[in-house]
């Protein structure tokens, strides 16, 4: 094991994950999720966030259909129900920006603001895809550390 390389990768990982919290992509719930990962389930976090991104994609297409394809018959109650689900799962994985967009999205549904909903829809799409890219980079760093013979640092955000 090249300790210098491992050390550099670990510092890079720490800096990157801290930046994700500071930029608001992640919140403390992601820390809680990482605590659940262990030797028995080394890919737990990646698996759960993968489920989350599948959820995002599914909901995005559902919202797209309901809001864009049927502009004269938007069922805001149904959209709100879907947004509530997405808000819940984003909250569970610590996807802070996605969760915040969902909060704004719900407010638009409450007042039946179609244009506002459209903007939120675009924002949901942007934020979840951005987070997906960021987390993939994070997981790649983890793999590099492990392949170099190191361990993944536990980063405390308190």
């Amino acid at each position: 094991m090249n300790t210098i390389v491992v050390g550099q990768l670990q510092r890079q990982f720490q800096d990157y994950i801290v930046s994700l919290y500071q930029q608001g992509y992640l919140d403390n719930q992601f820390t809680e999720l990482r605590k659940l990962q262990d030797e028995g389930s080394p890919d737990f976090v990646a698996e759960v966030v993968s489920l989350f991104f599948d959820d995002c994609a599914k909901h995005f297409y559902e919202f797209y259909y309901r809001i864009r394809e049927r502009p004269d018959h938007v069922d805001f109650k149904q959209v709100d129900s879907g947004v509530h689900q997405l808000k819940g799962s984003s909250s569970s994985v610590g996807a802070r920006r996605v969760k915040n967009v969902c909060i704004a999205f719900k407010e638009c549904c409450d007042v039946q603001n179609r244009e506002g909903c459209l903007r939120c829809l675009q924002q949901v799409d942007y934020e979840y895809k951005m987070l997906k890219t960021k987390l993939q980079d994070l997981f790649n760093l983890e793999q590099q550390i492990l392949q170099a013979g190191g361990t993944i640092p536990q980063v405390s955000m308190n």
Partner: protein, 135 residues
């Protein structure tokens, strides 16, 4: 609490049922329970939870989501209590306004926790039900 400080309740042979329609939450709640050594199963809605009990299965603890298709958490909790199920039921939901919480509690819950669920919230539930004694 560090990983090393987490209690292992495997010797207690506790069993739990996760009732939630969201795969992300199912995965997390199952993992939380497994980390504490609690054997668990998962179903996707209240009707499946009721059906599981009708088929003779029983659990020490049920983590019940509120918003689910087919049969929601309030309906399922009422039904389970009507069936005489005395398991400890903890409502776990993102809906936290007082009115919704009251309605859910009155359906027959023993405890209520706001999502997202964490290790500390789960330990709080277990402690309340005397499944876990802090040392």
């Amino acid at each position: 609490m560090t990983r090393e400080e987490l209690p292992n309740l495997a010797e207690s042979k506790l069993t739990a049922l996760v009732v939630d329609d969201n795969f992300v939450n199912q995965s997390i709640h199952q993992k939380l329970l497994a980390r504490l050594g609690i054997t668990n199963e998962v179903v996707c809605n209240g009707k499946e939870a009721v059906d599981a009990h009708c088929s003779g299965r029983n659990y020490d603890l049920i983590l019940m989501d509120m918003d689910m298709p087919i049969m929601n958490g309030i309906q399922a909790t009422k039904r389970l209590r009507e069936m005489g199920i005395e398991s400890k039921i903890a409502g776990v939901t993102t809906r936290a306004n007082e009115g919704e919480k009251k309605e859910f509690m009155e359906a027959g819950l023993n405890d209520f926790q706001e999502k997202p669920l964490t290790i500390s919230k789960l330990l709080s539930i277990l402690h309340k039900f005397d499944f876990y004694v802090q040392t």
